[in-house]
């Protein structure tokens, strides 16, 4: 692709997100937005960020990671922990949320780097298995983690709240094992979500089209050839993996600040969540950021918008998933699609002529 085309492609992607924001704002002002859809806006942004960030690992780096929910979990807990910790020290909720976003991204990024060093020596299936295990370990560790604070400072325990041994009067339990963190202020708004999505797109798209991005893609396409021309494989792999993890951590902070309860349950951060994000990426197209956003938003909104169908909605969701996969990837479907497209184009050309 020429430089010009790349610019236009990227502009379309950013434009789509901004257009989505504008349309929602107009609908909100004119009162056309239902409460249900209003509540869905932050999760939509969150899943779009997760899908774009995972696409960096799966689509651009070409490594199958099944531990994305683990990074999200790390970000969510470190961010919510910070927000609750600094409740008295930093009264401004916006500032605390901003700090939480940075901390969540940094913590998840550091873990991404640490996990990446041993893990990226593996390839294909093995990498998938290890990242899957990593996600589960994070989830289970947080499930037994108790953290409290009193006048003497912080107390940690892996057993229960009583073994924290806190001062009775000033002691506050911040992380309560399986009960997680409750009472996080709901600072996440749709506008912040869209801004974070734009930031994610900016980071990922710029990385892809930079020198580093081309190096990363060359590793994906042919590792030996890339090594032979002197590309530092470990460095670029780690770079992509930790950026992907950091962005997932940021999405986690957004999640933690959209609900007043945060628990490291299998439902929230289990491997099913990792696979769900992977489904968004695969359906949207490997390496296709715009597709990831659309797939993530459609598949997140769909089960909620189908509530009217009661129990059938789960069935329809599955059917839509199958149809979308066939439409996107089946050779026959692609053939039909290109045929239809060329007819439309042909027709247009004739008109011009």
């Amino acid at each position: 692709m020429t430089k010009n085309k790349v610019r236009i492609q990227n502009a379309v992607t950013y434009g789509m997100v901004v257009l989505f924001w504008v349309v929602i704002q107009i609908m909100d002002r004119t009162g056309h937005l239902t409460s249900l859809f209003k509540g869905l806006l932050v999760p939509l942004c969150m899943y779009a960020i997760l899908a774009v960030s995972l696409n960096l690992t799966v689509g651009i780096l070409g490594e199958l990671s099944l531990g994305h929910a683990g990074f999200m979990c790390l970000g969510a807990f470190s961010g919510a922990f910070l927000t609750n910790c600094l409740e008295t020290a930093v009264p401004s909720m916006g500032l605390r949320f901003f700090m939480a976003l940075i901390l969540g991204a940094v913590v998840a990024g550091i873990f991404g780097l640490l996990i990446g060093i041993p893990v990226l020596r593996l390839k294909g299936d093995y990498l998938a298995i290890v990242t899957l295990a990593f996600g589960e370990i994070i989830k289970n560790l947080i499930n037994v983690l108790y953290v409290g604070r009193d006048v003497n400072g912080f107390h940690f325990s892996m057993k229960d709240t009583t073994s924290l041994g806190m001062d009775k009067e000033t002691g506050v339990v911040l992380i309560k094992g399986a009960q997680g963190i409750t009472g996080t202020p709901r600072a996440a708004t749709f506008t912040i979500g869209i801004l974070l999505l734009l930031l994610t797109l900016f980071i990922v798209l710029n990385l892809i089209h930079s020198r580093a991005g081309r190096a990363i893609m060359s590793i994906r396409d042919n590792r030996i050839a890339a090594e032979s021309i002197g590309i530092n494989i470990t460095k670029y792999k780690l770079m992509a993996f930790s950026i992907s993890a950091a962005l997932a951590g940021m999405a986690g902070v957004l999640y933690a600040h959209s609900l007043s309860t945060l628990q490291a349950s299998s439902n929230n951060f289990g491997y099913n969540k990792s696979i769900l994000i992977l489904v968004f990426v695969v359906l949207g197209g490997l390496g296709n950021m715009r597709g990831s956003i659309i797939a993530a938003m459609l598949l997140t909104a769909l089960p909620e918008l189908l509530r009217g169908l009661n129990d059938y909605r789960m069935l329809i969701y599955a059917v839509v998933l199958i149809v979308m996969t066939i439409f996107n990837s089946s050779p026959k479907a692609i053939e039909i699609r290109s045929m239809v497209l060329s007819r439309i184009r042909g027709g247009a050309k004739k008109e011009v002529a």
């Binding site: 249900l36 859809f37 609900l259 439902n267 659309i294 909620e304």
Partner: protein, 416 residues
């Protein structure tokens, strides 16, 4: 050409996204109206059975207006049994109330149940769906973590909420939220007190699920209270939701430590495995469960004779004389024995009825005004429900009722 195509595609995609937003409202309205028709049909059915003239008229035509009550709970997924029980019991109670002429001066109740799949995020979505429907009061969420998330939302809207079974302490933290069941710590403390007072055992083992807030909350309170009751905790073993299929390690430790009572603060599916495995290793202590144990007799492919002698702290027994009318009606309507969640939900509807009558709220008042009036009225009412006689509530939203323990004898609960 390609540029134009790409731009066109982008516009179409963005439009399809907005179309989703637009169609959201239509879908919800259809949902609401179909639910309403279903509710109306049910009412007519109930009326036909009762042959009472009062309920023949559709709820919407009543003189006192229609109060819209939303139910949120897991209707699908692993916790579906609880949500369905709650939905059915609310439906049953609503039909009864409507058939008997409604609340006070003929206020009819209309209900709408939404699924949350036992997920906090989905529970908030369910609440938002109900808001689009025009809900005025919430019964739910059924499970703890979703309930905490929804309570934070209802607090902002100042909408009256009563949870039948959200037992975590934080569920009723906002002052617009009340609950019917006991809080987790109360259950744990009550269990320890019961064991201590009745001198069931001195050497006690605990097996608990460290991955659920329900189980850890009860265990913690139990351990604290056990010291006061002179109970000796000889084994304290955890499992998680991911390895809840084999309990032989935990049971062996309990057996080796000489525990004569095993406290099991978790749900009945796991409990059925614990009982089977204890039986196969020839270990026969007293198993003492809490309200999550309720349902043990309904587990498929489980030899219910193994549950003989199991004790559980439950506020409700389907075989009790006082709950016979409810159980019969429930079995007739839904073909299964109601569990404790259903009983809690049934009581929730009657608590709402009593509080509405006490405060004199009418459906045409704003949600916030209804909530303010209900908050005061809830602390003034006393109801004799299925889960306890003379139930009262304090301003914090906690119920005040006596804990009851049951023992399984010959396949039925016998209240102790």
């Amino acid at each position: 050409m390609k540029k134009a195509l790409a731009l066109g595609m982008a516009v179409v995609m963005a439009a399809s996204l907005t179309a989703c937003g637009g169609s959201g409202s239509t879908t919800t309205t259809t949902a609401a109206s179909s639910e309403t028709t279903a509710a109306a049909a049910d009412t007519t059915a109930a009326a036909a059975e009762d042959t009472t003239a009062a309920a023949e008229e559709a709820p919407a035509e009543s003189a006192g207006g229609t109060l819209k009550i939303g139910v949120i709970g897991p209707l699908t997924g692993p916790a579906a049994a609880y949500g369905q029980g709650v939905r059915n019991a609310v439906e049953l109670a609503v039909n009864e109330v409507n058939a008997a002429g409604g609340i006070g001066d003929g206020i009819m109740i209309e209900m709408n149940a939404q699924d949350d799949e036992h997920d906090a995020q989905k529970s908030v979505n369910a609440y938002n769906t109900l808001k689009d429907w025009g809900v005025q009061m919430i019964i739910g969420s059924v499970t703890s973590a979703p309930c905490i998330a929804v309570a934070a939302e209802t607090e902002v809207d100042n909408m009256f909420q009563i949870t039948p079974s959200g037992s975590a302490v934080e569920c009723v933290a906002p002052d617009n939220v009340f609950r019917v069941c006991f809080a987790d710590p109360d259950q744990g403390a009550a269990a320890a007190q019961y064991i201590g007072e009745h001198q069931l055992a001195t050497d006690v083992a605990i097996i608990y699920d460290s991955s659920t807030e329900y189980s850890t909350g009860i265990r913690e309170a139990f351990v604290e209270e056990a010291a006061n009751q002179g109970l000796n905790i000889v084994a304290d073993e955890a499992f998680t939701a991911d390895n809840a299929t084999d309990f032989s390690v935990q049971l062996t430790k309990a057996k080796d430590a000489g525990a004569t009572l095993v406290f099991c603060p978790f749900y009945y599916q796991e409990a059925s495995i614990v009982l089977s495995q204890a039986d196969s290793m020839g270990y026969d202590p007293i198993f003492f469960g809490v309200d999550g144990m309720d349902g043990i007799l309904t587990v498929e492919n489980f030899d219910t004779s193994l549950a003989e002698g199991v004790m559980l702290l439950t506020p409700f027994s389907a075989t009790e004389e006082s709950s016979k009318a409810f159980t019969d009606a429930y079995v007739a309507a839904y073909g299964e024995t109601p569990n404790q969640f259903a009983a809690d939900a049934y009581d929730a509807v009657y608590a709402i009825k009593a509080a509405v009558e006490k405060s004199g709220v009418t459906p045409d008042m704003s949600v916030s005004d209804i909530c303010e009036a209900m908050k005061t009225a809830m602390t003034e009412i006393t109801i004799d429900g299925l889960t306890g006689a003379g139930m009262t509530w304090n301003a914090a939203g906690e119920p005040n009722k006596a804990p009851k323990a049951a023992m399984i004898v010959d396949g039925v609960y016998v209240m102790q």
